[in-house]
């Protein structure tokens, strides 16, 4: 018996639809690269190996060098800003059931997710305005990658004329006891995540590398630095000679821990005195 023409047409239509559906599936998501291209993993590793050999008899001079560098760095307001930005990433990842720590090797389902997450945050500004105003206060856009179910440790953010009024971090309480600090950031931040992305109660646990312009209290300057952030401390490196040898400095409230290749000192910021502890 001859098949009616309408049946052939319906079959062809269905077949065409099927082939079309197969061909038009979503492509693989392209994972972008961080803007700075800094090897933040290597930078992070360098914090384990200070290269400067400390002259234990000249520690006061080293302390003065460290303190001068400390005064240049935004250790009081950058950590809370970074924690805030990373927290926005954490919230979004958690909402989709995606890992919020590089240590989480898989999402519970066993399925493999590859994704790019971008969080754009309009900065608060300095006037305490309750309505967002990107043109006046700037913005910061953070990016995180999940590759085959694993949160990649390298993340980044781009700040565009971001003006923030932030509370100083607890680690810097001895340096800045003001209730709020007016900071401004314009440039690129690259992160190497050392633990879970911060939730509402925790600070960032990450290495941060910055290149751009930072200002606080109206003083603006180009800057390129890196620091290691944790809930309780901020670490940064200070070059002690022209050869590029450096000490690793840990700021914990009113205390500075200065570690060189051969020795370590604990210094009290208030009294500007140091005692060898390693």
């Amino acid at each position: 018996m001859r098949w009616p023409e309408w049946k052939w047409r319906a079959a062809l239509l269905a077949g065409g639809w099927l082939i079309g559906a197969a061909a038009c599936g979503p492509g693989k998501v392209a994972l972008p690269s961080p803007p700075l291209g800094t090897d933040v993993a290597a930078v992070n590793a360098s914090y384990q190996m200070p290269t400067a050999v400390l002259d234990t008899s000249q520690i006061d001079q080293t302390y003065m060098t460290v303190k001068a560098r400390l005064d240049q760095l935004p250790v009081d307001w950058l950590p809370p800003l970074v924690a805030d930005v990373l927290n926005a990433l954490q919230k979004r990842l958690q909402a989709s059931g995606l890992p919020d720590s590089p240590a989480m090797k898989d999402i519970p389902s066993g399925a493999k997710v590859t994704s790019v997450l971008e969080v754009k945050r309009i900065c608060n500004g300095w006037n305490g305005s309750s309505t967002p105003d990107e043109a006046a206060d700037g913005s910061i856009t953070a990016t995180a990658l999940v590759e085959e179910g694993v949160l990649q440790p390298v993340a980044w953010a781009t700040a565009q004329q971001c003006q923030e009024q932030v509370m100083p971090s607890s680690a810097s309480s001895a340096l800045n006891q003001a209730l709020t600090v007016n900071g401004s950031l314009d440039g690129s931040l690259e992160f190497y995540l050392l633990g879970q992305l911060p939730d509402a109660t925790n600070g960032a646990d990450a290495l941060v590398a910055f290149a751009g312009t930072a200002s606080v209290g109206g003083q603006t300057g180009s800057a390129s630095f890196d620091m290691q952030l944790s809930d309780d401390f901020v670490k940064f490196k200070v070059s002690t000679d022209s050869a590029g040898d450096y000490v690793v400095v840990t700021l914990m409230g009113a205390t500075l821990q200065i570690d060189g290749a051969n020795a370590g000192f604990s210094c009290d910021i208030g009294s500007a005195t140091c005692a060898q502890n390693r």
């Binding site: 599936g25 979004r92 997710v113 994704s115």
Partner: protein, 289 residues
């Protein structure tokens, strides 16, 4: 149905020319109609009631209430239904999967039957302030061939289309690791009729291609913060498979299929595979009204 061709032939008998009477005589003409002959079926008709995963149909104005499918035959060649297993996912996966399917038989002549099956599944993956859905549409081409009186082969090729929309929790779109993704599967079932109502079954299924499920979501976290998430998800196992053996009783008003096998369990209807390989149950009960 198959082998239901009717032979109706009228044969005119006339005398042979050599024995023809004289030209002036009227040649007697004998006309005899042979009654339509129904050739004996090659396999018991009851064996062809197996409509789950085959090109055979449930039948016109017939309602089948089964563990694997509720099916209603609108015509002899068209049926609609829904899959209880997908609804039952709610019990273990905390997710509703409303679904509907349509089956149409394009061809049923002689030993060959061909049918198409299209399903539509929607999974709500909303959680908290995030809302989203996953769509899954499996298309199946089904063919059944009566090879011998003791062997009927049922083959299928299935393409599964899946897409996530919105910003819900993607992991809610998975059940015990089984994720709805784009996939191409093929299966082959051998049915061996041993008696009028009982057949042995042996089937194999493999997912020859595993794609991914794409998602894209924009979220306003608060008045200052917005987020864009783009990505793809692929299941942990790329080429799931299963082999199963069992038997089926196809009584007039009650079907019972039971068996077991090994491999990845394919959620019936949804055709998504559970990543962990284990003993695969093969069970279906259905009441036919």
């Amino acid at each position: 149905m198959f082998l239901s061709g009717v032979v109706a032939t009228t044969i005119l008998f006339g005398r042979a020319a050599a024995a023809a009477p004289a030209a002036d005589e009227e040649a007697p003409v004998v006309s005899r109609t042979i009654e339509p002959v129904e050739p004996p079926p090659l396999v018991p008709p009851e064996a062809l009631r197996l409509d789950q995963g085959t090109a055979y149909m449930v039948g016109r104005h017939t309602l089948k209430l089964g563990l694997l499918a509720f099916e209603f035959g609108i015509t002899e060649k068209l049926s609609v239904g829904t899959d209880p297993p997908s609804w039952a996912v709610r019990a273990i996966g905390k997710i509703w999967i409303p679904n509907l399917h349509v089956k149409y038989q394009f061809w049923d002549r002689g030993r060959l039957a061909i049918a198409g099956h299209v399903g539509g599944y929607v999974a709500d993956i909303s959680s908290g302030d995030n809302s989203g859905v996953v769509f899954e549409v499996p298309f199946s081409a089904l063919a059944s061939v009566i090879c011998t009186r003791h062997l009927i082969l049922h083959g299928d090729v299935t393409y599964v289309f899946a897409r996530a929309v919105g910003n819900g929790d993607l992991t809610r779109a998975t059940v015990h690791g089984a994720a709805a993704v784009r996939a191409l599967q093929t299966g082959l079932m051998a049915q061996i009729p041993l008696t009028r109502v009982f057949s042995l079954l042996a089937l194999g299924r493999v997912q020859v291609y595993t794609g991914d499920i794409g998602f894209s979501a924009n979220t306003q976290i608060d008045s200052y913060t917005s987020a864009t998430l783009n990505g793809t998800m692929v299941p942990a196992v790329q080429h799931p498979w299963q082999v199963v053996a069992g038997g089926t009783f196809l009584w007039k008003h009650f079907y019972l299929t039971a068996g077991a096998g090994y491999g990845n369990f394919f959620v019936p209807g949804l055709e998504v595979a559970v990543p962990k390989r284990s003993v695969v149950p093969f069970l279906n009960l259905a009441v036919v009204l």
